[in-house]
Amino acid sequence: MANYIPTTPAELQEMLGAIGVKTVDDLFAEIPPELRLQGELNIPAGMSEPEMIRKVTRLAQTNETVDNNVCFLGGGAYDHIIPSVIDHLLLRGDFFTAYTPYQPEVSQGTLQCIYEFQSLISGLTGMDQANASMYEGATATVEAINMATAQTRRNRVLVLQTVNPEYRRVMSSLNTPLGVELISVPFEDGAVDPAKIQEALNDQVAAVVMQYPNFLGGIEDIEKISEMTHNAGALSIVVANPIALGLLETPGKLGADIVAGEGQPLGIPLSYGGPYVGFLAAKKALLRRMPGRIVGRTTDIDGKAGYVLTLQAREQHIRREKASSNICSNQALMALNTTIYMSLMGREGIKEVALQCFQKAHYLKRELAKVEGVSFPFTGSFFHELVVKIPNARKVIGKMAKQGVFAGIPLDNWFSNLKDCVLVAVTEKRTKDEIDHYCNLLGGFING
């Protein structure tokens, strides 16, 4: 009913006259009759804006949110504090109604933002360069693997079992069709024993993929693993949580060749999984293997500084079937979202977010340790996420959900050996009261 078409009936007639036809139907005349849609599409008639708002709002209201519940879920997406000002800037039409900067002279805003994103990600990860962003964390990891297999001309990839299992599924869908052999290296005490990786390394291995902190919250020895990986002539790929890098040493300093990851923790709403933004950063030697868009700084003919899409000779619109990736855009608006977040929080803010996450997660662990029946299957270091073993875990967290607490993710979704184990994340957004409530509620359900 509502529509966004500005043409008046008089203009319609005038335009049809200029074209030399009587009706709009005449413009569709070459569609053979047997291919024409008979009748109307079987979807509802249009509605006015207020009718639509009412319908969509009611649907949204049937969902339970992280606002009217308390969220201890993580597993790759985290409930962080998001400064209000970010969304006001994202709603500037000049950003969100623009497209890929094909005409750089009228796209300097988008281009400079991407240059700043690339620089911030490089700085955060300790790498030489980053691209203009990827769809999300899993597909960024897939592209990192493609870079490594192309660079080493080898096709076996060792993937630590502590890498996000959802990412591992996506790798299996997207990396294996090109002949990549993914080999899973199992974990023991919440992390993978480097000796196990050493056993699997040989001259056919293109890369080792590890996560930092890993999916179970633990901190793998990415320094030692990277060193072993390099000794075997393979590349070290680290999937990093960008907020953890406010506290933890950069993958770059610890030997990573490629860092991929999910940018959601940097100020992007949870959004039931998307849109998020992937980041991909690498050492200098891998520059021309990077997929996707890259923005470079240059000058215009008057000598004024400006920005362009660069190194496009790698890309699909020029290389077609010889391109190393089919990615033809980036996730610009979400990259901008994280760029604004990193600018606003700044050096001290990101450090403090990371530190508060660490402190609150460790507080939760200390308090949970007092609850009878709760145990911790792993002993290693962790950042803001940990595995908690709870008797009858699924039943208990179901009861917690009914009380408005999303208590954690049951790990037997992916790991048959982690029955009754739950992955619990604590961000800076959780308060002491919420954490105390969590422990009391849990104790009640276990022992009540």
Binding site: T97, Q129, Y135, G246, G296, N326
Partner: protein
């Protein structure tokens, strides 16, 4: 004055945001994490909130956008992005859901997704959809994975995919990502697929055909039924690149033309914002016989409740770690609700009307290589200006001085000095007339004052940029100056 980089605006001691004070007892991280894993320095800037607001506001003003003016970028469908859809995507009940929440807590979200799947399946004439792919190119990849899985299951030995020479650049690149070899098919004199060329290359090794209809020349291929039949005769699958769906909604459907697999670009046809290059969404639809291969998870309804089902044995597996770009899907859902069946048909009617109106008027000034009714876009050639030493690139740059975005240029590659113009249905006759007049003036300038074109643009925030040096000495990271 150029806008400084965020790093150059940094001032030590500035804070742009204040966190609540830590309310739990502290421990020393060094007691819990080995020292070599603790970070020493963090090279991020420090700014106040207002500094940040001004920086990004000033940057935004350097962009052209649909909100500022006409954006006739062919094959990109730069239509108006309705503001109400932004509000719908920001409803707490959608924006603040964790992807790992139990299904019973997100019934509204799942219902929305299922309804959108059904609407898109109806619009395209397909039997089942996945909303998971994050962009058109990822939709292509997903479609090709489905093609691969289909042939593998049937024991077919297929190695090649046919693509017309007018196809989008992502088509061959996506084929390469699944290991298919590309067979290029020529276009005929009317701009459609050259059937004889296709027949001569058709054989048992052909896995399928990827095609856009209307194609990138904006022309509807009337022979599509026969093409589909030919491909099916060797047990190949016919793939519809939905980049140009804005031309045909409610008039004809890929499913009825014989297509087996379709991808859509919700950021084109269904008005979700392009966001400066993303996020998009690239749902994929299939006919019944391919449904088992769709990516996980599928959304199922058991008569009472919705569930995410991940245990489909023949699935190509997930292509993203979530159900898709959910909030993009919310916007498309709202757009379909408002337009409804008659609205969507009108969208295509007016998109096609606008394109034909411009084409009829502009063909008096510029070469039109295929002179027949177009659909939602058309392609002109700038080769007639070569005699003045002027190229299509110069025309594009001069348009920027008139406050317009340029058309897509040098694509499709089968037209010399091509300009691909797509007005979309949301532009008024007044805007189209202004653009047409600008193009006519530029053509006159090309003859009389070609330097106006060659020096263009002069009224933009920067002028033509040195792309050669940018590629030779990449400066892509503030912290690493080029050698």
């Amino acid at each position: 004055m150029a806008e400084p980089l965020i790093f150059d605006l940094s001032k030590d001691g500035c804070r742009g945001f204040t966190l609540p004070a830590l309310d739990v007892p502290e421990v020393d991280p060094a007691d819990h994490i080995p020292a070599r894993f603790l970070r020493q320095e963090l090279p991020l800037p420090s700014l106040s909130e207002l500094d940040v607001v001004r920086h990004f506001t000033r940057l935004s003003r350097l962009n052209h956008s649909v909100d500022i003016g006409f954006y006739p970028l062919g094959s990109c469908t730069m239509k108006y992005n309705p503001r109400v859809n932004e509000n719908m995507a920001r409803l707490a009940g959608f924006a603040n859901l964790h992807p790992q929440q139990p299904d019973e807590t997100v019934q509204g979200a799942l219902q929305m997704l299922k309804t959108l799947e059904e609407s898109l399946a109806e619009i395209t004439g397909m039997d089942a959809m996945t909303l998971q792919p994050a962009a058109g190119a990822q939709g292509e990849l997903t479609g090709l994975l489905i093609m691969l899985a289909y042939h593998r299951k049937k024991g077919n030995h297929k190695t090649k995919v046919m693509i017309p020479d007018s196809g989008h650049g992502t088509n061959p690149a996506s084929c390469a990502m699944v290991g298919y070899e590309v067979v290029n098919i020529k276009s005929d004199a009317r701009g459609g697929v050259d059937i004889e060329d296709l027949k001569s290359k058709l054989g048992p090794d052909i896995a399928g055909l990827m095609i856009t209809n209307p194609n990138t020349l904006g022309l509807f291929d009337e022979n599509i039924g026969e093409l589909a039949h030919l491909i099916h005769s060797v047990d190949g699958l016919v793939y519809y690149d939905g980049a140009n769906l804005n031309a045909i909604m409610g008039w004809t459907r890929p499913g009825d033309m014989g297509f087996d697999i379709v991808h859509l670009n919700l950021h084109k046809t269904f008005s979700t914002p392009h966001g400066g290059g993303g996020p998009g969404a690239g749902p994929v639809g299939v006919k019944k016989h391919l449904e088992p291969f769709l990516p996980n998870p599928r959304i199922q309804h058991d008569g009472k409740k919705y569930h995410l089902q991940t245990k489909c044995r023949e699935s190509v597996g997930p292509v993203l770690a979530s159900v898709g770009n959910f909030l993009v899907l919310v916007r498309a859902y709202a757009y379909i609700l408002v337009n409804g069946r008659e609205g969507l048909k009108n969208v295509s009617a007016y998109a096609v009307l606008n394109a034909n109106y411009m084409m009829q008027r502009l063909k008096k000034t510029f070469d039109l290589p295929y002179d027949r009714f177009c659909k939602h876009e058309f392609v002109l050639s700038g080769k007639g200006l070569a005699k003045y030493g002027v190229k299509t690139l110069d025309v594009a740059k001069r348009l920027l001085d008139f406050g317009f975005h340029a058309p897509t240029i040098y694509f499709p590659m089968i037209v010399e000095e091509s300009m691909m113009i797509e007005p979309t249905e949301t532009e008024s006759k007044g805007t189209l007339d202004c653009f047409i007049e600008a193009m006519e003036m530029i053509a006159r300038e090309a003859a009389e004052k070609p330097e106006n074109l060659k020096n263009a643009p002069t009224k933009t925030p920067v002028r033509r940029l040195d792309e050669a040096t940018a590629a030779r000495k990449p400066d892509i990271n503030y912290f690493q100056k080029p050698e």
